[in-house]
């Protein structure tokens, strides 16, 4: 890849995904090139970032994300992540990443046992990641949530390690779903995979109520721009 190329974002389309077009629109508005990737493909096209969008992949039957992790494309997504490539899972995408073992923990039903669609405030706990570099540490972002299973859980040992490593990247200022550590977004050990329940793609325009989502999406694009500019090759 040549330097200063436009970042290329691949959005995976599972049967039952429903936020894929919103992701495409918001990433394009921020200057990225996007490509839709059908879940049945076995390899990824030439993309810098893989997005697993929100929705109900495979109907979320059995358990959220439980079937989607077996979609053919997921092997290629795992390889991409293993090679240090960036992966962003939003909502259902976060659930799929947990099921696939790319992120620790699991997402249980919300405390209160209701689906919640509402604005939430997220505090950026770690601004030194590929997904948050545009934020100030402690900055509060207004981004909506839209889920029934966003109550993140992980065992104590992993939890302690993740807190120490700064992997709890985004915390709710008012926990809406019972999530451990008030976690709204977490990364893997390598920091190249982020899963978050809130929908940054829905908050990239003042007319829709907030532009704070662009801090997240824009950070990833900055990261990709920097890496292509400095390393030249991927």
């Amino acid at each position: 890849m040549t330097s200063l190329a436009t970042p290329r974002v691949g959005v995976v389309l599972f049967p039952g995904s429903n936020c894929e077009q919103d992701c495409v629109r918001s990433f394009r508005a921020l200057g990225a090139e996007t490509e839709m990737i059908w879940h049945g493909e076995k390899s990824l096209p030439d993309v810098d970032l893989v997005v697993l969008p929100g929705g109900f992949a495979h109907g979320d039957y059995l358990r959220t994300g439980a079937l989607a992790r077996f979609s053919p494309i997921m092997t290629a997504v795992e390889e991409h992540a293993a090679g240090g490539g960036l992966v962003l899972g939003i909502c259902n995408g976060f659930q799929i990443l947990c099921e696939a073992g790319l992120l620790p923990g699991a997402l249980r039903k919300n405390v209160g046992l209701k689906f919640i669609c509402a604005w939430a405030e997220l505090r950026v706990e770690n601004a030194d990641t590929a997904f948050t570099r545009r934020a100030q540490p402690g900055q509060v972002l207004k981004v909506p949530i839209n889920h029934f299973e966003g109550n993140w859980y992980v065992d104590d040992e992993t939890r302690e390690r993740m807190v120490a490593n700064g992997q709890i990247v985004l915390r709710y200022t008012a926990n809406p779903n019972g999530s451990l550590e008030d976690a709204a977004g977490i990364t893997n050990d390598g920091g190249n995979v982020l899963g978050m329940m809130p929908h940054p793609e829905r908050a990239c325009e003042a007319l829709l109520g907030s532009e704070d989502g662009a801090v997240i999406l824009g950070s990833v694009l900055d990261t990709l721009g920097l890496s292509s500019a400095t390393s030249g090759v991927r």
Binding site: G55, G59, Y61, C117, L208
Partner: protein
């Protein structure tokens, strides 16, 4: 045997005679079942047709009017939307979760059948008192059904209504409106082309929903109604989502001649309707239909209302491509028949013809009844009874009680369970006068709302219906959009009773009169009769779904006060209109007298005023349930901005605060714009008067004041408190 079977299927002896005359022979078992669903009240509009034909249906922007899957309205040249409302009342009472869920599924497929992508839903819900534990279960089931199905198919639920009234306790109303946008080209449900293939795709056909249109939707309820549970369909939102994507891909690829969804009446419906419209016929191979379970009788296959199915008519050379697209989306697709030039629907089973009837006989030649109607005598008694206009002991207490009454209080509990943001188009969402939806990838938006007032219609169905049309148009105009089209859902009791039929006739007359003046033709809708349980009918409840157009989504006017120091201006004049009001019902426990009388010319002038004022005002909201005081409080709470109001001193204080006079709106603007606002209003002949200004953390009226936080607490918790008290 056949001599009694028709009655079990819901056909009268006279209707059977008509069928025998038309066919020149006794119908077969399967034919009789098909006639029973296609000639049911639900599918044939046999009691309503004579009245509906008088509604205005034409306008410059109306591309498709009544009679198709949905109305089509031009937004700007080359951009069109589909708009339609449907009821799923009976199924939702028998099985609330699946009844509500499949209600969404059905209207979404109606929109899809026009070639439009569904982009927004509104739910207009009516229940009994939230204090009743059984009602609480219905509310929970219906809201959960909407949340589960609507969220999963990825169509935002952006608004609607939730009304509580004892008359709906045994007959809840679940009306769902859907907005779609034509993405590639407008489709029609015509089965053209001798030799073309008919492809059924989507879910398999099972035993669910047998006779849903006839035995369930077209009959009253009694103690045995819960036995009708097998008549309710079971929804699968995942398959619906795949059906949406596959159908739109088929349209984008120009692979289909026409298609229609399968709803009420199952396979019988599109096979006869598509061919009847096109003047063709169809041969269906019964064994080609893929079934969910073995041993289904032919009549069950033909009338099963299994969900998530579509029928496409396809040129023979494109069949493989169509099946490939469906297969990519994981959907079963099979050729189940061929278009013919016979004019008949023929069904063949193992080579034997078991159905051979003219398509038009099923689709268009059903009975039409001129049902007798008569003004019921009780109307005089009710109108002469006490309207409950007495002043309350304490104005502040009455105000807070109204603000927390379930009908007025925030419905956040329900709509926060619905995805109302997907597609990045929700400029104004739930809780607004009308939802404002920006069309994908464009600057234009449409404003949509549903409104109805059963109490007004009970007191006077003609005025009540006119008031509903006026309020819906006003709600749309408050956002700055110009109202251009109406879809309606007419919920009534048993049309065989002359009193109910009179209510219906009067309501339709009222809708027609108001729509004609306001320039909002009716593009279609739905009639739901037989909303009666044990002989007790609901209030006559026409629900009006109005759509308006806004050239620039970013210019939409919010209902919330946005900043301190704005002038508050009342457009219109407050009269003494408390009959059937929320004040009379909640505070004085009285439903009597007459509803407000609408001055339709004043309403039209107000709407013109609101549309022209959009660039000048910072907020707009109309006083309706609870009057001016509640309207002011809603705008203040929504914006987190206090207000001081000097209400009309010529009126008794409680009248000035709570009267529900129509054709009014409250707008705010910066003081620099006040003169211009008044000028615009004057130009249209709309009275305009500055009544206060925004700012602070209180609601200050001439006679009392309330802390904004107290008002918010009442408004936000009014409903949930009542609901949780029921559970305790």
């Amino acid at each position: 045997m056949i001599s009694t079977l028709h009655r079990e299927l819901g056909l009268t002896d006279g209707e059977l005679e008509q069928i025998v005359d038309r066919l020149g022979r006794e119908p077969t078992h399967t034919e009789l079942a098909m006639f029973s669903v296609m000639w049911s009240e639900h599918c044939s509009y046999k009691s309503s047709r004579n009245h509906l034909k008088n509604l205005p249906t034409e306008g410059d922007r109306i591309l498709v009017g009544p009679g198709e899957g949905a109305g089509i309205i031009e937004v700007v040249p080359g951009v069109a939307v589909a708009w339609k409302i449907e009821s799923h009342n009976h199924p939702s009472f028998v099985e609330p979760f699946n009844g509500a869920a499949t209600g969404i599924g059905g209207i979404v497929r109606d929109i899809l059948s026009m070639g439009a992508r569904p982009i927004a839903l509104l739910d207009s819900l009516r229940f009994g008192s939230p204090d009743d534990p059984k009602t609480r279960l219905l509310i929970d089931g219906v809201v959960h059904g909407i949340s589960s199905y609507g969220n999963s198919i990825g169509v935002p639920t952006v608004g609607g209504e939730m009304v509580f009234e004892d008359c709906y306790a045994e007959n809840p109303l679940v009306n769902v409106a859907c907005l779609g946008v034509i993405e590639h080209k407008q489709m029609n449900g015509r089965g053209e082309g001798d030799g073309n293939a008919a492809i059924l795709f989507g879910s398999s056909t099972g035993r669910d929903g047998i006779g849903g249109a006839s035995v369930l939707a077209s009959a009253e309820f009694d103690e045995d109604s819960l036995d009708k549970r097998p008549s309710v369909q079971v929804g699968d939102p995942f398959t619906e989502k795949l059906l949406i994507e596959a159908s739109l891909e088929l349209i984008r690829s120009d692979l289909v001649v026409g298609f229609q969804d399968l709803g009420a009446g199952g396979i019988s419906c599109p096979t006869c309707e598509m061919t009847s419209k096109a003047g063709t016929g169809i041969d269906v191979e019964l064994e080609s239909i893929h079934l969910r379970e073995p041993g289904m009788e032919p009549f069950e296959v033909m009338i099963s209302e299994s969900q998530e199915r579509m029928l496409a008519v396809v040129e023979p050379s494109r069949v493989d491509e169509v099946i490939a697209v469906c297969s990519k989306w994981g959907l079963e697709a099979r050729v189940i028949g061929r278009i013919t030039d016979s004019g008949n629907v023929r069904v063949l089973s193992d080579g034997e013809v078991i159905v051979d009837v003219p398509a038009a006989a099923l689709a268009e030649e059903g009975p039409v009844y001129d049902r007798p109607y008569e003004r019921p005598s009780w109307i005089d008694e009710v109108q002469a009874s006490a309207p409950g206009v007495e002043a309350p002991g304490d104005l502040k207490t009455a105000f807070l009680e109204l603000l927390g009454s379930p009908r007025i209080a925030s419905k956040r509990w329900a709509w926060s369970q619905y995805d109302h943001m997907i597609f990045l188009g929700t400029i104004e969402g739930p809780g607004s006068d009308a939802a404002v939806i920006r069309l994908p990838g464009r600057d234009e938006a449409v404003a949509i709302t549903t409104d109805g007032n059963g109490r007004y219609c009970y007191l006077d169905p003609y005025e009540g219906a006119r008031l509903a049309v006026a309020e819906a148009a006003r709600n749309v105009a408050c956002t700055g959009a110009r109202p251009v089209a109406v879809t309606n859902c007419l919920n009534f009791g048993n049309p065989e009773k002359p009193g109910v039929m009179w209510q219906f006739a009067e309501a339709v007359r009222g809708i027609g009169d108001a729509c004609a003046v306001l320039g909002t033709p009716v593009t279609g809708g739905n009639v739901s009769f037989y909303n009666e349980t044990n002989g007790r009918a609901i209030y006559p409840t026409p629900v009006i779904g109005t759509l308006g157009i806004l050239d620039d989504a970013s210019a939409a006017v919010p209902m919330s006060f946005t900043s301190d120091g704005d002038d508050v201006i009342l457009l219109g004049t407050t009269g003494v209109d408390l009959g059937g009001s929320e004040f009379a019902t909640v505070i004085n426990d009285s439903v009597g007298g007459s509803p407000p009388t609408l001055d339709i010319d004043a309403e039209r002038a107000l709407i013109e005023t609101l549309v022209e004022l959009a660039p000048l005002v910072t907020s707009a909201h109309d006083p309706s349930d609870g009057g001016l005081a509640v309207s002011i409080a809603e705008s203040a709470v929504a914006g987190g901005v206090g207000v001081r109001i000097d209400e009309d001193a010529d009126l008794e204080p409680h009248v000035a605060l709570f009267s529900e006079t129509p054709s009014r709106a409250v707008v705010t603007c910066t003081p620099a714009s006040t003169e211009a606002v008044v000028q615009v209003a004057r130009k249209h002949g709309t009275p305009a008067r500055r009544i206060g200004s925004t700012g602070g953390d209180k609601l200050i009226f001439a006679t009392f004041e309330v802390a904004l936080c107290d008002a918010r607490e009442r408004y936000e918790t009014g409903l949930t408190k009542r609901l949780s008290a029921t559970m305790a």
